[in-house]
């Protein structure tokens, strides 16, 4: 194993620019392709994909059954696939069962449905505490679960990725699939929050 690069005193913005310049000169990356890739992950691949999956599962019982049986295939039905989505398992919350997803060893996250992980998911405090004191952690996120609620934590240690199917909020019986989508946040699909109630 060769040595790791020496710690650098150059700011990270400048190192990024330097590495890009070196790789562009070698013809290994194309700035236009980089721009397109960044735009895709900044704008297109995000939690809105997962929200559409959840809203469909709330309104279509057959889809919900397929989603829980084979998450990867049911998610691909809506066109969502790609890196970090080889095998996605969907975990269904109920009034007495709550799921929480973490990756303690890095920050594995189901990109095709949730996009890139937010800072809090990558925060050492989250990675450390989710597998040790999930109830206390969830309370800090504003989610106080009663003693009757069982908590299951999933530490993403292989290439399997997890997404939470939150409970459909009360008072949404009359809402359409499209109207339900904005109630589903990335926090609800990771298990640190419930889906939002309609305004």
């Amino acid at each position: 194993m060769s040595p790791i690069p020496a710690p650098s005193d150059q700011p990270v913005e400048l190192r990024t620019e330097a590495l890009e310049a070196l790789l562009v000169e070698k013809g290994l990356v194309d700035p236009a392709v980089l721009d397109k890739f960044i735009k895709t992950y900044a704008e297109d691949v995000g939690p809105l994909n997962g929200a559409k999956v959840v809203a469909k599962a709330w309104t279509d019982p057959d889809y919900r059954a397929r989603l829980l049986e084979d998450g990867t295939a049911a998610i691909a039905e809506l066109g969502f696939k790609g890196p970090q989505g080889e095998c996605i398992i969907v975990l269904e919350n109920t009034p007495t069962l709550h799921h929480l997803v973490v990756c303690t060893l890095c920050s594995c996250y189901p990109w095709p449905v949730l996009g890139l992980p937010p800072s809090w998911y990558k925060d050492p405090a989250y990675r450390a505490r989710a597998v040790r004191e999930p109830r206390a952690l969830l309370e800090e996120f504003g989610l106080a679960l009663g003693p009757e609620v069982e908590i299951k934590v999933y530490d993403s240690s292989s290439e399997v990725r997890y997404m939470v199917l939150p409970e459909r909020p009360a008072g949404t019986e009359g809402l359409s699939e499209e109207e339900l989508v904005p109630l589903v946040t990335r926090e609800a699909m990771t298990g640190v929050a419930k889906a939002k109630s309609p305004a």
């Binding site: 690069p5 505490r129 290439e159």
Partner: protein
């Protein structure tokens, strides 16, 4: 390796910094670092995610923490591209200084040293013929291993007994794939641990699930 990355259960980090409205990239360099890393990694021997993760783990603990997630990614790419002789050691530093207007001599082109390694297929999942060694419901113990290289068996589970909940798709073994040694595709099991077997009798009651490779497990009975 028993590094800073293996954070499960560590104490002393305080509260999580939470912003629900955060964009994908909080600064433009983060998006560029992300894209440069992922796209240049395809130029090595495939996009070896295990090698990428291990390059993160090889950072010194302070480096690991200093510039956050995308700062780590940048150093990870630099590490792997240097390992493979795509860029010379010190080349990024030298170029950064040059961009600041310093008079710097950049290092000469390195000898290419890409690993002689071909993935057996795309991604990480593989079909294997042998039946799984353990059945759903069976008790297993996570082995007490401390490899110098990469592993996806977190410290907090080593030596602990859990129950197989589900047979996951077979996949390449990160421990050997990360080092471009062998894919060693094998079964993977979702194993459930009672929180009290991990953190003692005073622990909050909950069930912890890990996806563990066959090599990480032994029969508990």
């Amino acid at each position: 390796m028993d590094g800073i990355h293996d954070m499960g259960g560590m104490q002393g980090w305080g509260e999580v910094d939470f912003d629900p409205d955060e964009p994908a990239f909080t600064a433009p360099w983060q998006g560029r670092a992300f894209a440069i890393c992922l796209l240049s990694m395809n130029r090595l021997t495939g996009r070896n995610l295990d090698a990428m993760r291990h390059a993160l783990e090889r950072l010194r603990p302070l480096q690991y923490l200093q510039n956050g997630y995308y700062g780590r990614w940048l150093l990870m790419a630099e590490t792997l591209l240097t390992d493979s002789g795509v860029i010379a050691p010190g080349a990024v530093d030298a170029r950064a200084r040059k961009l600041r207007g310093e008079d710097v001599t950049e290092p000469p082109e390195p000898e290419p040293s890409k690993p002689d390694y071909t993935p057996a297929g795309p991604g990480s999942l593989r079909q294997i013929d042998a039946p799984p060694r353990f059945k759903v419901g069976e008790q297993v113990r996570a082995r007490d291993i401390h490899p110098l290289g990469h592993t996806r068996l977190p410290r907090y589970a080593r030596g602990r007994i859990g129950t197989v909940e589900r047979i996951q798709p077979a996949a390449v073994l990160p421990d050997t794939n990360a080092h471009f040694v062998a894919e060693n595709a094998q079964h993977c099991y979702q194993v459930a641990f009672d929180s009290r077997t991990l953190w003692g009798q005073e622990a909050e009651p909950f069930v912890l699930h890990l996806d563990l490779f066959d090599d990480y497990l032994e029969a508990a009975s």
